[in-house]
Amino acid sequence: MKLNRENKLLIGLCTAAAILIAKLFSIQIIDDKYKLSAENNTMVYSTIYPTRGIIHDRNGNILVGNKVAYDLLVTPKEVEQFDTLALCEVLDITPEFVREKMQEYYRNRRRIGYQSVVMIKQIPPETYMKFAEVAYKFPGFRGQARSIREYPFNAGGNLLGYVSEVNARYIENHPGEYKSGDYAGMTGIEAAREKELRGEKGYNIWLRNSRNKIESRYRDGEMDKEAIPGDDIMTTIDAKLQHYGQQLMNNKVGSLVAIEPATGEILTLVSSPGIDVDKLANIGQHYKEISSDPYKPMFNRAVQAPYPPGSVFKLVNGLIGLQEGVVSTGTLYPCSMGYHFGRNKLGCHAHKSPINFEESIMMSCNAYYCYILRDLLENPKYGSIDEAMDKWNEYVKSFGFGQKLGSDFPSELGGFIPDSKYYNKVYRKGGWKATTVISLSIGQGEIGCTPLHLANLCATIANRGFYYTPHIIKDSENVTIDPKYKERHYTMVDTTHFPKVVGGMYRAVNSGFGSGGTASIAAVEGLDICGKTGTAQNPHGHDHSVFICFAPKDNPQIAVAAYVENGGFGATWAAPIASLLTEMYLNGEIKKERKPLEDRILNGNLLDRVRVRK
């Protein structure tokens, strides 16, 4: 054959055809990749959702359970003419809603094809039963059972957390774990133990034929997977106590935290106002209302709000003073309505003078702690105030302040404890001295700590010098908690100094009215409650009312911190609340003579005092 131009072109033609056929051979016969993709395109996975694990309290009561609700599914291709109004009546929806949905399905008819789509989510069983009776009138509509959360106790939405459908961002942040349509715990315990609670999804595999209709089970269901229910978990919460705490904090803004000192287990964690558990199961429907509430119920104050601790913090300064040797139980300081420096003074209330260490706690003297802080910061032991300040910072942090405690509760915040670097930045180096930062002595100024921090402080004192990291999950059949929750954390203050502080706290509560003790209102006969009041100044309105207490004095069972925003004196609101909670926990009831106090607290409403941005 001559290699003329005709033949060259024919060779070119054959080469081009050979290229096409070779590529076809490679994708149709050699490469399996495309066949697998095609199978995925034709197999329909119908997901079987597992039931979520049940959340128990420490006594085995169910805090969060499951109940059945129904999703209404529509298969647009099968819908025939129906009585819209009748459907609306049984399902309690508007005709506009139905019309809008049907139009939407019509617009997307190509994409939907023969599939079913969810028209209404989470219909309660009562409503669904009404529909089921007349369902034969509505071809193409059917219900699908789905398990949703149920809450036997009003344990507070912030503690329990809610479960909702995952959004695109959540899926992105948990690669490979979730698909759109899945549910996940978003806050609180639900989020903390999502891994155990969620269980494992299963699926049925169906095949569709070339007309896009479901044809048969794939391999008779042999490749299907059953759903595995989530693990049940046991929390450290005492459901009844939590419920009672929730009632005590009703109509007040603030937090109430109780810890078992001997274990660090959180008994109660109330953030008020909270999300009502009635709204929790179907949070999507109420989300707008909740997030626009001016009191911010979604904000978990117990672990996230950095408050000034107020006079409660004197306990920490006192302990540091004892450890550093700048004060002893016998040290007497005078107080003439405050601590005077230069032409300024830090005021105090009327009480006897001079007083010793225990009395300073009992009467909550401001001046006494100004002397202690001054002596701490001007201690010649340290080369400069910077060094002394940093030492103080180190001490305070050893109580867990100024950092996340590391509890298993999600979204805990660390608060703030200042150091020399901070003040050098604010006042420049050398531009500040002990009197500049004197308000730190009484827990004011640049200190921020959460109610959880305060409860932990209380537990530390109750334990006479150590704490367990507060936590909310207990060991149970399927769940083992991190061993770090079983480690003791000692502070930098020797345990020998703690009984001196405990003595002061005991006298603050149990000295009787008229003695000068600030927390007599918290006294309960026979319980030996030890406590410390705090009144945190608040430039934006009424002072915050703070109280921490533990009981009994020896072998303490419970340590409580109450923080009531704009509540005024610590003794007015926080002390009664904390003591009532303690009494309820230890006695199981409220003594008759304290019933009027209980009434006042349960019915008290402080919401008007709280300034909110509406």
Binding site: L20, I27, S37, R208, N212
Partner: protein
């Protein structure tokens, strides 16, 4: 029966090339069956149901047969040569008119609409251009090597091509590039085709890879040509290949040096600001180390600049025309690279740039172009050796593949008929084109031969681009598969294109 001149000659049965007609018939039947397969799920009904695409295609097929009959039996084949110019000019007018009077379909103005009937003049422009080329090039004394003749020929091709580009139908315009094979057959220098091919290669490389890569390829091929011509292939292997491979690593070497210098400057910037901010400012031009400002392209051109005088001196001393021309082409190639780079990045507007990027597959748009190809390859790949059987394809019938009855019709073939079926379809086309070329060569009239090659080129370009696109070896260019894709104007145009050749061919056979 009326025949030109009234002579009867040999009978129809003996003069028509029946193999071409059967081929054509097979292809339109395959097309019809596959159109039904691709729409039967979304538009259920009989294959004849006029509401569905398969029913409509049946009507187009019937009318196409009418057109075929008209061309074979009614229109005297002699008139084409004389009518070529008026037809060509008429179609040019239509092509321009459609830009102003046509309706917009998917972003391009290339359709006339007469009520429910739509018609694309670009389709018949293939016929008119082929006729015109045949008419001009078959004249006595025509020599493609002569500049005047070449320019006229080039204009005949380029004018409709440019108008079609103006209609935003770049894909259809690309088909005209195929006429270059016909020109080659008619004596166009092979080097010219080679240079044109190189220009296209450089154009694509500059845009898809980088100007540096394009220049590297240019240098490699130019040196290869020079060495081959002077019989020093071994030199090329020993000197040029290592140099070029070495040069290929320059960008990554530069990059790693620049990366090594980066932390120092980043640290300087990091004082007092946090790391993220520092990193952000380090990415700014001001913080870049000097070395990253050196472009590898300039290094390469520097080397070439050093080599150039020596080679030029050598070329002139030996009076070697070939080397001189090669050097000239090299310089022209470099100019092309720079101008393409400049045009693309600085002159073109965003939407035009995007169009080219999509055409060359540089930007994958998951919902658009990239998605189509991926789904199309899944559909074809899932067919396996024998396919899933007629009407049993799952991919093509669910609508995973878009445009599946028109541009992506080959997916249905691939999925339902498998490798065997798709290879058979390709071989059928190869046979058709082969047969056209053979008939053209056998013809005694230049007009018939040239027209036959034009037909072969058009069908080949459509075949290769369309199927290449569905199996991922060509960018997505929306042109139909001849005779098979759904669509009236495409089917009619290709039928007319083919049957004019059959008629011309038959006319000759009557007497010889």
């Amino acid at each position: 029966m009326r025949d030109a001149g009234g002579h009867r000659g040999r009978s129809i049965a003996k003069t028509i090339d029946w193999s071409l007609v059967i081929c054509w018939l097979l292809l339109i039947l395959i097309g019809w069956a596959n159109i039904y397969a691709s729409v039967h799920a979304s538009e259920p009904g009989s294959i004849f149901d006029f509401a569905s695409r398969s029913g409509k295609q049946f009507v187009w097929m019937m009318t196409a047969m009418g057109i075929a009959g008209l061309i074979l039996f009614v229109i005297p084949p002699r008139i084409y040569e004389g009518a070529a110019l008026p037809i060509y000019l008429g179609v040019i007018v239509l092509l321009v008119a459609v830009i102003f009077l046509g309706i917009e379909v998917k972003g391009s103005r290339s359709w006339f609409a007469f009520g429910p009937v739509r018609f694309q003049p670009a389709e018949i422009s293939k016929i008119s251009t082929s006729l015109m080329l045949a008419a001009v090039m078959s004249q006595l004394g025509y020599r493609i090597g002569r500049m005047k003749d070449f320019i006229v020929t080039a204009l005949i091709i380029i004018v409709p091509m440019l108008i079609i580009v103006g209609q935003s139908e770049t894909g259809s315009a690309l088909v005209y590039v195929g006429f270059i094979f016909m020109l080659y057959r008619e004596g166009l220098s092979g080097w010219l085709i080679f240079i044109a091919g190189m220009a296209i290669l450089l154009f694509i490389l500059t845009l898809t890879a980088s100007p540096f890569v394009a220049a590297l390829v240019l240098a490699g091929i130019t040196s290869l040509c020079i060495c081959l011509y002077s019989g020093r292939f071994r030199w090329w292997l020993i000197i040029c290949v290592p140099l070029i491979v070495l040069m290929a690593f320059v960008p990554s070497i530069l990059e790693s040096i620049a990366a090594g210098m980066m932390p120092a400057s980043a640290e300087a910037a990091a004082e007092g600001v946090d790391a993220a901010e520092a990193a952000a400012s380090a990415e700014g031009v001001a913080e870049l180390p000097w070395i990253s400002k050196i472009k590898p392209l300039y290094i390469l051109l520097g080397f070439c600049g050093i080599a150039l005088p020596f080679v030029t001196f050598h070329a002139f001393r030996e009076r070697n025309m070939f080397t001189q021309l090669s050097l000239l082409s090299f310089i022209a190639g470099v100019a092309l690279i720079f101008s393409v780079d400049f045009l693309f990045n600085d002159v073109l507007q965003d939407h035009q740039r995007k169009r080219i990027e999509v055409l060359l597959g540089m930007k994958e748009d998951p919902a658009g172009v990239g998605y189509n190809v991926n789904q199309s390859m899944i559909a074809i790949g899932s067919g396996g050796l024998f396919g899933k059987g007629y009407l049993n394809g799952t991919q093509t019938t669910y609508g995973f593949v878009p445009e599946q009855s028109t541009d992506f019709i080959f997916c249905t073939v691939g999925e339902e008929w498998g490798f065997v079926g798709s290879a058979a379809v390709i071989l059928l086309y190869v046979f058709l084109i082969w047969r056209i070329i053979k008939n053209a060569e056998r013809s005694r009239e230049n007009f018939t031969r040239i027209y036959g090659y034009c037909v072969a080129c058009c069908i080949f370009m459509h075949l290769f681009i369309n199927i290449g696109m569905t199996i991922g070896i060509m960018p997505v260019i929306g042109i139909p598969l001849p005779f098979v894709s759904y669509g009236g104007s495409s089917l009619w145009a290709f039928t007319a294109l083919l049957f004019i050749f059959i008629a011309l061919n038959r006319n000759e056979r009557k007497y010889f």
